[in-house]
Symmetry: C2
Subunit: 373 residues, 2 copies
């Protein structure tokens, strides 16, 4: 595993922002990075070539969904997740924990693992740290995640503590079970917004030792300020020479604030989910393409945007596609939003390189907080 | 209009097949040609760039759908249909006649024109030859079609005759009304499978004089043999120096048989409609991607196919996408089918050029008739 690592290139003098490179078995990833989400092995509505064209260097897929359909055995027979997704660059899989704990069909949970019924056909499954790791070893992503318990927000102190203790114990079991040297294994810090619990969890995980560390259990209803306070606290106690990944986050403001606090990796469904709902991200704020104000508008979603949608289609056409329910509307706005996020990350990386990130990000943060909440 | 024309490059020695070039205001089209259908100004599920990548040189859109949504005034304000579709190559619009006469909401029809209610909101519209031409002048396609009456199959002699007489009268009115010199105007021969009526209609239209001639009113239930007999008869009496377009056709066998009889242009929803339903065209016959036989199949839809789908995605992945209802399934199989049709047209053109079309097409026709009916 010696060639799989995170290398810190530069740190910002005015904040904790970092510029780095994540070396994986499928190539390098420039950080800070945003990972489009391909829940069921597809970034919804887009081909791999289109996603690559948005500038994405790494994508995410969900173990929970993959294990149900098409099933891990099928993914193996199809040559692994890269083959299935027609994506030759890095891929990260989550452990399935988040989805399983969010499920209403969750039937039984104890220190050993979790029993749940599939949301597809009601079939029962048992999953524990060893199984979650084995599944991910076989799915074959470049970065895999420890099986953890994500507590809801708000949560009782007892529930939160239990989730942290289990996540720590399971992390150890995951590391022990991990059997694919081509994959990096990341630990996940839990603890809700309880900073002491976060410290404890982070410390224990670092003692076990992982290829990278995620901050999980956030963006579950606690709000931007509490989330960022937790991120600031947690990121600061994670090792400097490992990548830090804030799971499931977030809005442009969330991302900028987290980068200021030293986070390197992000994933979120917002660009594609919003895109399907005719919501476009722009520097001037949200644009809702179903709005009749756009009917005769010959301009692109965003003047100066270099995405395929903005380079070719006008707002009037997009408004029409949503109005008549043509798939092309969701496709094009998803592509724009994915590119918007990649342009944001690219600007972040450039500003860190130029050591101008602190001031720039303060302005942007203020602006985006106003525009997107 | 002197530069907009059809130029015959070569004729096949063993059949009536022709190799030509259609010169339009947005560039040349090599014939025989297949036009993907963009009913509502989008080839369903695909971007303009993806359609271009399949090799399409011209696409079709439907005046009836466009006049309802987004409306012709909006298309004008958006800079015309090329701008709306982000398609810089040639476009053809039908006149709307076919859709209007197929509508159950059709309220009134007489020699002057047609009254109908929109299938979208019930709003009443009146359309006649002059209006249909004006709408198409304003939509701005490179090739526009005369407003005609398409009789159902089977139809009473009287109904058929009335439809032919109206189509002839309206064709004259369309030519008179046509006011956009950048557009070619095609006449449409009607007459069902009545060869005498077809002759009469063709003769009258040729007397009026058009930039090209379509054979309409076929592929409405009469079956392959009757259709081709009608095409053979009709194409033979159309002028050699004008393009011949068989509307709404068809299967691979339909196309090959029609090319053998001197048809130059085709359009059909089959590649995209079938693609959305997981039906892929291949040289070995239909492949149904929902079939569980493909679950673990690492092969492409078609070995040797150069389409984006076959170059990147395996059958197992496609089967999975249809199974979990990911948009990517319909998108990818539509792209494959569009490319299948373009490869067919490309082979047809090459075989005519090499003067090997007669024998080749006989074999292909036999094969495709067996595979696709």
């Amino acid at each position: 595993m010696s060639e799989l690592n995170f290398s810190l290139k530069q740190t910002d003098s005015g904040s904790s922002a970092r510029r780095g490179v994540l070396r994986t078995a499928h190539g390098d990833v420039q950080t800070p990075v945003f990972m489009p989400v391909g829940t069921a092995a597809a970034i919804k509505g887009t081909t791999a070539a289109q996603v690559e064209e948005t500038g994405a260097e790494i994508v995410l897929s969900n173990t929970y969904h993959l294990m149900l359909r098409p099933g891990v055995e099928t993914i193996e027979k199809l040559g692994g997740i890269h083959n299935v997704m027609a994506w030759e660059k890095p891929i990260l899989t989550d452990s399935g924990g988040y989805q399983i704990f969010s499920l209403e069909a969750l039937t039984k949970i104890n220190d050993n693992g979790v029993e749940f019924s599939s949301h597809v056909d009601g079939k029962n499954f048992f999953i524990d740290a060893k199984i979650a790791t084995d599944l991910q070893n076989r799915i074959g992503a470049d970065i895999i995640m420890c099986f953890d318990q994500c507590a809801p927000y708000p949560a009782d102190e007892k529930v939160l503590l239990e989730a942290v203790e289990r996540s720590i114990r399971w992390a150890g079991e995951c590391k022990e079970a991990h059997a694919n040297p081509k994959q990096m294994l990341f630990g996940i810090v839990q603890g809700g917004i309880d900073l002491e619990l976060r410290s404890r969890c982070a410390k224990e995980l670092v003692d076990i030792g992982f290829d990278g560390y995620a901050i999980g259990g956030l963006s579950v209803g606690e709000g931007h300020e509490k989330m960022i306070r937790t991120v600031e606290h947690t990121a600061a106690i994670l090792p400097e020479d490992k990548a830090r990944y804030l799971m499931g986050v977030g809005t442009p403001a969330d991302i900028i604030a987290a980068v200021r606090n030293g986070v390197d990796m992000f994933d979120c469904v917002l660009p594609t989910r919003n895109g399907r709902n005719a919501f476009a991200f722009t520097e001037e704020g949200p644009m809702r393409l179903r709005n009749s104000v756009h009917i005769n508008d010959t301009g692109p979603i965003e003047e100066g945007c270099d995405c395929y949608c903005c380079q070719n289609y006008c707002r009037g056409a997009l408004r029409h596609y949503f109005n008549v329910k043509e798939m092309l509307g969701p496709i094009l706005v998803s592509l724009h939003n994915l590119r918007f996020y990649q342009r944001l990350m690219s600007a972040i990386r450039q500003k860190i390189e130029a050591d101008e990130f602190a001031g720039w990000s303060e302005e942007k943060l203020k602006k985006y907080k106003n525009l997107y909440h």
